[in-house]
Symmetry: C2
Subunit: 459 residues, 2 copies
């Protein structure tokens, strides 16, 4: 076998033990919270039929889907003409039937439709799996990354939306974050605004523009609105909406008068009020004062959300949104199952990882780690320590005996590298006295302990 | 969007909440045991450079690797000649640079070589991830399945082999299995036997034949040995070896005389004896009587194992091996890093799943499940139950309020389908008295409890 210098595919990552520990801290925290709110885990296959995925993400999305080459003599049925003209695009369906999933939403919709007769609705599921996109890799953008989605389908109750707020709040607190905002909007409010202006057909242009307020300021937004077909009179109507400030109640009251003549706009406001009322009844009204914020400039995923829209931002470090979601009224329509309303949110695990790293919020030693390393002095003492090794394991303690009597420095270095918090030194003297030397690797302190005492200390 | 009836790619599977719970029971059990023995988790990307994978699994293996089509205008640089002659095989490297991993071993070797300067050896890692093979799907054989590998590299100590026996033993017991065998052999013993017969070059033919003893019996093995170049005199020498019986000690003693003139054969025996001695010193000598079994007909993975070979079989149901592994002296040689010895074993998660299912060994209710469903009677009572809902969650209890006041039967059906063990019925009477009706869904028993008592009961 020729020896080649190995490398990773660009945009993909290895996760070392230390990184896995941190990633597992995030995933386990999220799973615990999801389960508490009645969401259960599912998994779908890494690849789907190409036809299941194409046409769901727009032209650009289709281009970014990784296609899998058919096995065997894949060219046998390919059109000689397409091959001759090297028509890459048109040849794809002839040589590829499968593709890696691009997100978790379309596979979830496929799952719901396929298993609709076995599912007890409302179906509350979470899913944490990698997805793949043939994007140009750059800092923070990977070709393989994990999505963490939590969705309910088959229930139009706004209790679900209120619970998503609680799920975000509880999960982010459990991860150690302290200052973040959960922003809420409603597609119907945006429709109402476009209606009031008399340009419902420009709703997308309007939201795309006002969504940029944070980045380009009011002047920039106004310029873009004019470019996109609005006139000065429209800007006058929009200005107080865009610059809406005050408490959530104040914002709702202002919007009520602006949207007084729009049925759909008032419906959107009523939905927001109902979500807020649920939070209050759940004993979480205090969240409405600082954490939860009505933000009508929020226009995430406007092409599929039909009700509430969520977005979460941390204020502790500079970072885009670390989560988002909303309600969609027709998730499964693409697969022929109509009127299945749903709502869901997702957590941006990679960004959350970076935030926790920057804030130094990962717990120092996860329970998963080896707790004790027994130093290997020589064969005779190795035999003495072996029963102790197994006794500790039987007590449920993660422990290792260094497998060879190498130099002490080498063995201590191993404990250091693996961040093992305790080291047990057993020499002839210790064998004689039965008093073993236990070293705390962080403080450097060393104490003599009996085997029984060691078990108690490590447990 | 055209509505298409969705389906799965053949050989792939969805995992429902109930199935995920069971799969997680297996994976969590394995992870807990791996960590106890000092193994830490890593993950590698789903796809690797095609060049990293090809040539590692033989011609048949190369054929079964799923290749990913290059993005964009992938045909632009393809040879017009190959396209014209529809040469599928030769065209692959021109239109595909990436491929889905075929196993966890080659990516692990790649990982060790790439990160060798950051790793504290011995490097003890486990890895539980899906792998993909373009195999013809059939019952029990999937195109996407999970491998669970646990390996140590950079240590030649036979303590590692002894610990793999303990890992198998502890993990399988924790999974609920009671009657299984951990079979051990050593490649060097097989080499010794071939040497004694004077046909070292036929070692592979010999082991392929005697490996079939279980299936085709001694007569069949003998026939195959003759077909493969052995003569009657060889069969006489092999017969007592193939039919070797008695305790492990008896087998070792017999082999010592058979292999008296083979240095390598005696080395293999000495290694087996050392593994057994480690088990005895670890206080697990009893395993050698019924669980651990020296089996010289075991010839798994002979082309890469160089020392001990493992295989695990359950005796409780009809099933192939549920685990196996061994020592390999040159894992990373394929990527230019020499003399890196390692040993590892794996668990066949899909087979273990089927075994536990058949034996009904999955725990009835995993902790992950929703514990309590609060029935939704009407809006007024919903408001009454909301603070209780959140209070239960704050005590760490997984609980749901049915999100709409549908018919009781429908709500109870939901609890049934989700196997929620308790249901809380709150009507006007309960609101008045503060005594809530708690129903045990399994026994059907119903009792009146206060909110405080409910918290205690559910905790």
């Amino acid at each position: 076998m020729a020896s080649i210098k190995p490398s990773l595919v660009k945009g993909t990552r290895d996760f070392s033990p230390a990184e896995m520990e941190k990633r597992n801290f995030i995933f386990n925290t999220l799973k615990r919270v999801f389960r508490k709110y009645g969401y259960n885990e599912i998994q779908t296959p890494s690849f789907e039929n190409l036809s299941t995925l194409t046409g769901k993400y727009g032209e650009e999305g289709d281009r970014l889907i990784f296609k899998i080459l058919n096995s065997g003599d894949y060219l046998s049925k390919a059109s000689a003409e397409l091959l001759a003209e090297k028509n890459s695009l048109k040849l794809v369906p002839q040589i590829s039937e499968k593709a890696l999933r691009y997100d978790l939403t379309v596979p979830f919709a496929r799952y719901v439709v396929m298993h609709q007769n076995d599912i007890a609705f409302p179906f509350k599921r979470f899913q944490i799996q990698p997805v793949w996109r043939a994007d140009k890799p750059q800092r923070g953008r990977y070709r393989e990354f994990f999505q963490c989605d939590v969705d309910v389908v088959g229930s139009d109750s706004l209790l679900n939306e209120a619970e998503f707020v609680l799920i975000y709040h509880e999960a982010l607190l459990d991860l150690g974050l302290r200052d973040f905002n959960i922003k809420l909007n409603n597609r119907k409010i945006l429709s109402g605004i476009a209606e009031v202006i008399g340009k419902p057909e420009l709703i997308v242009d309007m939201t795309v523009a006002i969504d940029k307020l944070d980045k380009i300021g009011l002047e920039g937004v106004n310029k873009e609105l004019l470019d996109r077909g609005f006139v000065d009179a429209d800007l006058e109507v929009l200005k107080p909406i865009i610059l809406l400030s005050g408490s959530n109640t104040e914002k709702i009251n202002s919007l009520k008068s602006v949207l007084a003549n729009s049925e759909i706009g008032l419906k959107g406001l009523a939905e927001i009020e109902e979500v807020f009322a649920y939070l209050t009844k759940l004993g979480k009204g205090a969240l409405l004062e600082h954490i939860v914020e009505l933000d009508v400039t929020l226009a995430r995923g406007l092409n599929y959300y039909t009700g509430c829209i969520f977005e979460v931002k941390t204020n502790e470090v500079q970072m885009g949104s670390i989560g988002g979601g909303g309600r969609y009224d027709d998730l499964t329509g693409m697969f022929g199952l109509k009127d299945m309303t749903g709502a869901g949110v997702s957590f941006g695990a990679d960004r959350i990882y970076d935030v926790l790293e920057e804030l130094n919020l990962f717990p120092e030693s996860a329970a998963a780690q080896t707790k004790l390393l027994i130093i290997n002095f020589d064969e005779t003492i190795e035999s003495y320590t072996l029963p102790l090794l197994q006794r500790l394991r039987e007590a449920g303690i993660a422990v290792e005996l260094y497998p060879k009597a190498l130099k002490l420095k080498k063995q201590m270095g191993y404990a250091d590298a693996k961040r093992i918090p305790y080291v047990l030194l057993v020499g002839e003297e210790e064998v004689q006295s039965g008093q073993l030397s236990l070293k705390n690797m962080q403080s450097g302190e060393q104490q003599k302990v009996s085997a029984d005492r060691l078990l108690t200390l490590m447990a």
